[in-house]
């Protein structure tokens, strides 16, 4: 079990980084509580795998420290940090049986055979591998192999944290759902710290209690899935989370209030005085409503998204999307829109106004 802290972490793959772009990870400070389920969410190349490998010890950071329960483990190699990692595609020892695969980490550490047997059977039952224990690992399907990788991570009692690097990438879509739920269930039974790296928001939001959103080597926001949805700290988080993503419109500021082509828009936050730079208004499609008065807009498209429909409109020269329920009739042509003030925010240079730089 461990509380994991990252202090002043920076990493570059180059020997002599000069420009900001040379840094794969820009300055980071993070703290993860013991036993929590966390997700690292971000697009490809944002640095999440780099971060994961630094935590597990497969990579040495250029600057900064990794602490487990306050102890500096930065100089330690992976086998001394007592972590487990599940990789993007299944890593199994092909020539061994499933049983031997699960037993491998324990046998390498000299655990007595009787204990090995009990432990392996326990884990096999948890990961639904009991029926295949005697089979050769190479004969299993991709999801079976990933379960073996997972099992190898769980089989050691002294594991501090389990790290997942996009583990569902090679799994068939219809099995992904099963494995996702299995992982969540496992976390309830085995309360170890679990850190899950992915670019898929559904995986992150279902699995984790708290999500860390990253982009271009920086942490953009961390919080519960709700917080990220309702109060994105950055337009990036707004775009990335939610389907469709948040609508972002350029606006002007008048006395701290947002103004959209002459229309005053009520927002949850106010812009500080004397502000200049890129000013935008962010509102999620879920929080735009049709009413009798409000901003004029022309409906340009309507698409079906299952339980609701997505309407696309042209409002004051900007394209907006919002949700309409199936049975709500919508007239084509002119409509009026209102934005829910509690869920409309002003953004300055991408960041939530009044909270710049605070992740």
């Amino acid at each position: 079990m461990a509380r994991i802290s990252l202090v002043g972490l920076k990493h570059s793959y180059l020997a002599h980084p000069a420009a900001p772009d040379d840094w794969a990870l820009k300055e980071l400070n993070l703290e993860w509580q013991d036993g929590g389920a966390y997700a690292l969410l971000g697009p490809s190349g944002c640095g999440k795998t780099t971060l994961l490998n630094i935590i597990s010890g497969l990579l040495q950071p250029s600057h900064g420290e990794v602490l487990f329960d306050g102890r500096d483990v930065t100089p330690l190699p992976p086998e001394k940090r007592q972590i487990a990692q599940v990789f993007q595609f299944p890593v199994v020892y092909d020539t061994m049986t499933v049983f031997d695969n699960l037993a491998f980490p324990l046998r390498n550490r000299g655990v007595p055979e009787t204990e090995v047997r009990t432990r392996v059977q326990q884990i096999a039952e948890m990961t639904e591998l009991s029926a295949t224990l005697k089979k050769r690992a190479s004969g299993l399907s991709a999801d079976g192999k990933q379960k073996i990788s997972l099992g190898r991570g769980l089989v050691r009692e002294d594991v501090n944290a389990i790290l997942f690097d996009e583990p569902l990438t090679v799994i068939d879509p219809h099995l992904k759902f099963q494995l996702r739920s299995k992982l969540k269930e496992l976390h309830h039974r085995v309360p170890k710290t679990m850190i899950y790296v992915t670019h898929d928001q559904t995986e992150a939001l279902t699995f984790a209690d708290k999500v860390v959103v990253m982009n271009m080597g920086q942490v953009v926001q961390q919080g519960t899935p709700e917080e990220l949805f309702l109060t994105p700290h950055h337009t990036f988080v707004g775009h990335f989370i939610g389907s469709p993503g948040m609508n972002v419109l350029p606006c002007e500021i008048d006395n701290g209030n947002a103004v959209l082509k002459g229309h005053r828009i009520a927002t949850a936050n106010k812009a500080p005085a004397g502000i200049s730079g890129i000013l935008e208004l962010g509102v999620r499609p879920e929080f735009i409503h049709i009413s009798d008065t409000g901003l004029p807009a022309t409906v340009t498209g309507l698409s079906d998204a299952g339980r609701f429909r997505i309407a696309q409109v042209n409002c004051l020269g900007q394209t907006l999307k919002f949700l309409v329920s199936e049975d709500h009739p919508i007239a084509t042509g002119e409509v009026h829109l209102t934005f829910d003030p509690t869920h409309t925010h002003i953004y300055h240079n991408g960041w939530l106004a009044g909270q710049e730089g605070l992740a």
Binding site: P78, A84, Y93, D94, N108
Partner: protein, 287 residues
Amino acid sequence: MNKAVNQKAWFFVLPVLVLVAFNAIVPLMTVVNYSVQETFGNNQFFWSGLTWFTDVLRSERFHASLTRQMIFTGSILLIEVPLGVLIALAMPRKGIWVSICLVLMAMPLLIPWNVVGAMWNIFALPNIGLMGKVLNDLGFDYNYTRQVGDAWFTLILMDVWHWTSLVVLLAYAGLVSIPDAYYQAAKIDGASRWAVLRFIQLPKMKRVLTIAILLRFMDSFNIYTEPVVLTGGGPGNSTTLLSIDLVKIALGQFDLGPAAAMSLIYFLVILLLSWIFYAVMTRNEEW
């Protein structure tokens, strides 16, 4: 991939078929022809059935060269395969030295075979060659032109020099294709260096090693030029391997019947052994 059934595909294959058939079937027909006939000159041939075959199979000479060939092939396989794998394992995986290493190692493979033989012929001469002179100076009584043991030693050393790089290149290709994640997982699982070799590297190299072993087996069984230029088959006939003997009989003595019979037996032996090797190495495997 899903292939469509299309008999017109035969047209695509026709050029290859014609070329290879011309080169393979026509000569082999000639060989079969000669192998069952006897001649006393003047282009008159008599049917002799399986006489030549039984003669060859019973002849001391054939047994001797076959034995020598087996010893040779066995020895080089036992040396070149482990050595090649060892070198591939010890090579850097990334970096500038990789290219340089591979290019230098590939050089022996592209030298005409007679030059390889000639090179070693000169290199190993007792008083003039670098290796010959050094060995004699060190106290060994070394003369490959006169002593059988020395001849075999030089022959095998030459083949190791010539072909180990092929094993290295193939093994290296197999090693390099192993994704990093396997090594990372092994680290986390606390696996020893030996365990990594046994459970990750060797299994993943199985396919390339099969190709390497098959190629080396076939080519060494068929070897002709290098030993001929190095020792001429001597001293005496101590290094006369199968191909050398066959060419002596066919092109030297123009003994058409025995040569033809021996050719067919030779071809069948190598087909059979190759098939056995292949079956043994790929059993239980999803190919």
